[in-house]
């Protein structure tokens, strides 16, 4: 008897009880599909976040200060000092908050960012029309705004928004620039953003502090040097590193990678438990099947089947059950992941071949592990007792 015959026998055993076989496989199908869907969605989300971070360029530094008592936040002079440096190419203070913006009768919630022209460069934003924030806007604290495409579409509906009036909490701004649509980034959608001169924000809000600055370092290899320079500057200003922090891209990415890897492991593990439950289901059914077919086993043994013949017959059955379940589960998992990707924007699952391989390998292993005991039980039956079994 060769493998092909064992396979044939196993398959006919499965075919003899179709409904039961399908129900048994269901446990594995759900388990494998769950592992693939959850892990794929998690890695997909991670991937898109890291992509966005990396697209911002790898030489950005994010400086946050929290202020300490009467030692306030960053000053104009400090920023100018930093700008002077050769190794700092861009610097953009950021004051932001969410506000309703209005034009005519239309209203939309927007992310107002008080900043400078460098902000666009560092966030890879490009203009589709008009101009950016100019130095004279900053100096003159002018009421001009560069708006995201979604804001433009909602408020001006097909009309050209340039030179139109935009009301931000009751104050009129003139739209001077229009941003190209660019989806969303770590800090939210770029398309619902309204960029205005930070100096204007400071005046409107009175005493708005500059607590956040993004710095573009000229060359990637200068990042550590710039970072330590800023650290020493801020340390001497505040006296303790508790009052500020400086993030660079690699740090951000590695923190993110760590968290999401843990997440993937966690959800994969939870889904893996359902695979285990599916395996126990297979063992349960195989045990029932062995009992039901005791007589068949007796007959086969009387006719000359050896222990290994019976063993392989039942083992093949459980492995075929679990592998078929695994394959269907993979198809279902990939299908559902795709479907979620189509239905939910920004949630594109990433089905990695290794996850598919692991899920399939796991289900095959489950077929073997949970099939061995019933198959061994079947092959160890005494032929006389088995023949007598009613």
């Amino acid at each position: 008897m060769n493998l092909l015959q064992a396979l044939k026998m196993g398959l006919s055993g499965i075919a003899a009880n179709k409904m039961r076989s399908v129900l048994t496989m269901l446990g594995i199908i759900i388990g494998v599909a769950a592992v693939i869907i959850l892990v794929s969605l998690t890695t997909g989300a991670t991937q898109s976040i890291t992509d966005r971070i990396s697209s911002m360029g790898s030489n950005l530094l994010m400086v946050n200060v929290f202020g300490r008592g009467n030692i306030g936040s960053l000053t104009e002079a400090e920023m100018n000092d930093w700008r002077e440096r050769e190794d700092i190419a861009y610097l953009a203070p950021i004051i932001n908050g969410n506000q309703e913006v209005k034009a005519g009768t239309e209203t939309i919630s927007a992310n107002i960012v008080g900043t400078v022209d460098d902000y666009l460069l560092m966030n890879s934003l490009t203009l589709s029309a008009g101009r950016s924030l100019a130095d004279m806007d900053i100096l003159g604290r002018t009421h001009v705004a560069v708006i995201g495409s979604e804001i433009a579409d909602t408020l001006y509906e097909g009309e050209d928004p340039l030179d139109k009036i935009l009301k931000v909490s009751g104050v009129n701004f003139k739209v001077v620039g229009l941003l190209e649509s660019s989806g969303s980034s770590m800090t939210g959608s770029n398309d619902t953003r309204v960029l205005i001169p930070y100096t204007t924000v400071q005046r409107l809000l009175q005493n708005a502090r500059i607590s956040q600055v993004t710095i573009g370092v000229a060359e990637a290899e200068q990042v550590p040097a710039v970072k330590s320079y800023l650290e020493s500057e801020l340390l001497s200003k505040y006296g303790s590193s508790d009052y500020f922090n400086i993030f660079d891209q690699t740090e951000l990415l590695s923190t993110l990678a760590e968290t999401t890897a843990l997440m993937a492991l966690l959800v994969g593990g939870i889904a893996g438990i359902s695979l285990l439950v599916g395996g126990i289901g297979i063992m349960n059914i195989m045990l029932v099947s062995v009992t039901e077919r005791t007589r068949e086993i007796g007959i086969r043994k009387a006719i000359g089947a050896k222990k290994r013949h019976i063993l392989s017959q039942f083992l093949v059955e459980s492995v075929v059950l679990s592998c078929t379940g695994g394959l269907i589960g993979i198809a279902a998992g990939i299908g559902i992941t795709r479907l979620v990707g189509m239905l939910v924007t920004d949630l594109n699952g990433l089905v990695s071949p290794s996850v598919v391989a692991i899920a399939f390998g796991f289900s095959a292993a489950i077929g073997i592990i949970f099939g061995v005991y019933p198959a061994n039980k079947a092959s160890s039956l005494n032929p006389i007792d088995a023949l007598r079994y009613q």
Binding site: M1, I299, R300, A302, I303, G304, K307, P383, I384
Partner: protein, 247 residues
């Protein structure tokens, strides 16, 4: 060809030892048709299990084709059963999910036989029992007599030297029973060695030799005289000394 010497089979029931067979010696030569007869519980099936290598004796030796088979492992027994013994059971013991042909192929499946060869030999065996036209039928679609003939074909397919039948017509009506009995006689005439276990005196008398069991012992062992086939009588060389053992 088959030689049992002082075989006993003891079942241990708690403290008591139950002798299902006690000191049984039996020789069967090639081409014999031996009927084993005895009341219920006399040990017929126990003897058949031993002859068929489904079980091993507690004491005594059993030689099959000159080879000692009294103390074999499960897998070694399986090989002997596969090659030397064709079983025919009272309740047919066909696999209900398989067709007649697949059932008949079974013994060859557990040998290294190519699938073509398997099919050819199974079809041959079915032809021998006159069921060529039912090869594709499942047991449920066959009459009792036909099922037993399929079982006989299965026993024949592996071409074993010994056919071992435990009350093969016990579950059949008289017509089907006659069909099966006739088939066994014709197989005997073709040279098969047959050991038949039966309750039925009449059937036993048609054999070439009659061995009576009582309470685990052989109480008589006689050749049966037939006017028709006198040639088979010479074959037997039987073991027990006494015709009757006191109980």
């Amino acid at each position: 060809m088959l030689e049992m010497s002082n075989i006993s089979k003891i079942y241990q029931m708690g403290d008591e030892s139950l002798y299902a067979l006690q000191d049984v010696s039996l020789r069967v030569a090639e081409g014999e048709f031996v009927a084993i007869i005895g009341p219920s519980g006399s040990g017929k099936s126990t003897l058949m299990n031993l002859i068929g290598c489904l079980d091993v004796p507690s004491t005594g030796t059993y030689k099959l084709d000159g080879k000692d088979v009294s103390d074999l492992s499960g897998d070694q027994q399986a090989v002997i059963r596969n090659e030397k013994i064709g079983f025919i059971f009272q309740n047919f013991n066909l696999l209900t999910k398989l067709t007649a042909l697949e059932n008949v192929e079974l013994p060859l499946l557990y040998r290294n036989t190519s699938s073509d060869e398997r099919r050819r030999r199974a079809l041959d065996a079915l032809k021998q029992v006159g069921l060529s036209d039912r090869a594709g039928h499942k047991p449920m679609e066959l009459s009792g007599g036909q099922q037993q003939r399929v079982a006989i074909a299965r026993a024949l397919a592996g071409d074993p030297p010994i056919l071992l039948a435990d009350e093969p017509i016990g579950n059949l009506d008289s017509t089907s029973g006659k069909e099966v009995t006739d088939l066994m006689h014709s197989l005997h005439r073709q040279g098969h060695t047959i050991i038949l276990i039966t309750h039925n005196q009449e059937q036993a008398n048609e054999a070439s030799r009659k061995v009576s069991l009582y309470d685990g012992r052989i109480i008589s062992d006689q050749k049966v005289c037939h006017e028709s086939d006198a040639d088979t009588q010479a074959a037997s060389a039987s073991a027990p000394d006494g015709k009757r053992v006191s109980q």
